[in-house]
Symmetry: C2
């Protein structure tokens, strides 16, 4: 017979396997009170001091500008983080998919904007029906860029007897979703006005392509361009008698400019909570550089090669679409990767770490290597829990409750 | 109050949120008997005809060569697939992490090889203890490439009173884990022999770098090189009185050569089950080209741009480390992507799809686009379930039970 902690009394345990030959449960990676050194790897760790400083800094910047902060939950997928943001003054959160909103509604978040069009299948309106059902529990809004979306949303809200706020998305240079100009936006506004269950709340104008322009001035100019395109549509709609109560947009790389634009009434940054290596590679002027607080804890699993080591965190433990992770050193200045070690290749379950110079020492077998992921959002989506640490001790383990909720 | 299917009676439901303000449960993406057109997106779909043909073809090739087949479960993480492989003659499966093995042991798989060194923390031997516990339920083996690993494994097996098979991993050109030569392997073999709870089963010699060499002859020559390095170590160990009962290795790209090498007694391919776009880009001669059976079902969510469409599957619905997905068309010949549409960019929750030629029609808003992922293993790791389809109907929904089990 198995002994604790493998044996688990209930077959309904979240991590147990349905209809098993034997019921086994994966031991937890970390427990509150445990030393960070004893956390099983790979694990995703949040430095609570950095995290809280980042939340405070963003809220203070929004407050100073008189702009509302609605952080993007697609970055963290974690209700505990959303509640910490709201406790500091955020008006609610953004989600990117309808299913993603579900754990936040369940946790009591009262105001959620789906900052995206939802994929509508008129023959099988599952997403619209779920959204309309959620709108019975919280204030919900969603984006549109097509007349057909409005009709499907209205029908779902009628079935559910719920009300939905609607934002018209305009394309301000991202070349993704959104209508191109004011006349197209006006056609959508007129259609929205015909439905009792829908309410036009305003415009969404988000330009993701700006966020990672490395040069600060280039980023500033691009953000100014997006803001001026947005302002022109707001003015044209106003001239046609359509008021945009809320203009929402902005991300962690452009927010310092968006806050000063005079156009956005609400910003929706996400990654500032964590500060990944991609955002860390931007140049910043002023005070809006956030602090690295998200780490993948990995362990050296092989030193056989002699001139490199292999750690136990690879493609299944990090997203690499925006580059490989940085190796982190406690002594590293904020914003710079390790000067002595480099993560040079990711296989599915392996990472290859090499010294950057001939004299750099290699970490020993079994030692801990901390990594700063290249891209936080899809990295969070790989983990079920976030191990929250402070001063070398695990303080909490937060469920990443919307992990995998991509529908 | 919420209505079915949102309301869920039990707070222990796998997809519900702990300590919620309100208990909400995500509706399932698919149910057996449902039309494929009604499956919610993004979803991961398995074409059962292609899947079964791939399983049959690989088993027949192994049987014809008199070599044992031990498919790699790191590709699928799905006990239902492991049991289908074993029902056809596979001797068991490989896993890449100790935690990954847990759902397979629980499902009754009796013989599992951890084809990897495990990350040992001598101060906190959680992984070794879990492995030793699992070895009380199934025949378990693991790789080593360092004396220290052997000591930690032996101590854990002594604590658990279990027996473990051990493979010495040799580096045959992958430049990752594994010892370099026969003398180093012999030192490990001698140490293993000193412990009652450990049994040296043989050698592991896997060369991942070979698998995606595009040219068939180049792949053949590289596989022959790895096999001959392996054969030399086997011979040197035999001369020193150490027998390698099993020599295990090989992947979906090299298996046709590994089977004929006369060196491997066991092969461990994984991706052949699905055939992703990266393997689909290899050139094949002969009969060992497998059939594409894994698809991401996505929906067109925006057509506002006019010259491209946006689908609802991005970085959180697919791994892009080995390239962007192919757009799939029913009429496409096996092994070639769509000739009229191309997936050109992945954002977190969006995919941009463009026509390849000026005359190609764009799919309509709400229509279905099937994608072949670039890399199957880390894509499976993003989903909790595999929607199994045949002739346009959902036949089963299989849990990807080891999803996220990367420790």
């Amino acid at each position: 017979m198995l002994r604790s902690p493998l044996v688990h009394a209930t077959a309904l345990s979240m991590r147990s396997v349905a209809a098993p030959a034997v019921t086994l449960t994966l031991p937890v990676a970390a427990c509150p009170g445990q030393s960070v050194a004893d956390v099983d790897t790979p694990s995703l760790m949040l430095d609570l001091d950095a995290f809280e400083a980042n939340l405070d800094r963003m809220q203070a910047a929004a407050d100073a500008a008189g702009v509302k902060l609605r952080p993007h939950a697609k970055a963290h997928k974690c209700p505990d983080i959303a509640l910490a943001q709201i406790a500091r003054g955020a008006v609610g959160v953004c989600c990117q998919k309808v299913s993603e909103a579900l754990p936040f509604v369940a946790a009591g978040v009262a105001d959620i904007h789906i900052s995206n069009e939802i994929a509508l299948n008129p023959a099988s309106p599952a997403k619209a029906d779920l959204l309309a059902q959620l709108a019975r529990h919280a204030r919900l809004s969603v984006c549109v860029d097509d007349l057909a979306q409005i009709d499907v949303l209205a029908a779902a809200c009628e079935r559910a007897d719920s009300k939905l706020d609607v934002f018209i998305e305009i394309d301000v240079g991202q070349n993704r979703c959104g209508v191109a100009d004011a006349p197209a936006a006006l056609r959508l506004a007129e259609r929205i006005a015909t439905f009792d269950h829908l309410h036009l709340r305003g415009l969404q104008a988000y330009h993701g392509g700006i966020q990672h322009l490395r040069d600060w001035n280039e980023r500033r100019e691009a953000a100014a361009g997006a803001a001026s395109r947005t302002a022109a549509v707001v003015a044209a709609l106003r001239d046609a008698g359509v008021t945009c109560e809320v203009v929402t947009g902005g991300g962690s790389g452009s927010v310092e400019f968006d806050l000063q634009s005079g156009v956005y009434t609400e910003i929706q940054p996400g990654s500032y909570v964590f500060m990944d290596a991609d955002y860390g590679s931007n140049a910043y002027t002023g005070t809006m550089r956030f602090t690295h607080g998200l780490f993948i804890a990995s362990t050296v699993m092989s030193v056989a090669a002699g001139d490199r080591v292999v750690v136990d965190a690879g493609l299944k433990s990090m997203a690499v679409d925006s580059g490989l992770p940085w190796v982190w050193e406690e002594k590293t200045a904020d914003g710079a990767p390790s000067s002595s070690l480099q993560y040079v290749a990711a296989n599915d379950e392996h990472g290859i770490v090499k010294p950057t110079g001939a004299n750099s020492a290699l970490p020993a077998l079994g030692s801990r290597v901390l990594l700063v992921p290249g891209h936080c959002d899809p990295t969070l989506n790989l983990y079920d829990e976030l191990v929250c640490v402070r001063a070398g001790v695990v303080e909490a383990v937060w469920p990443i409750a919307a992990r995998g909720f991509s529908r």
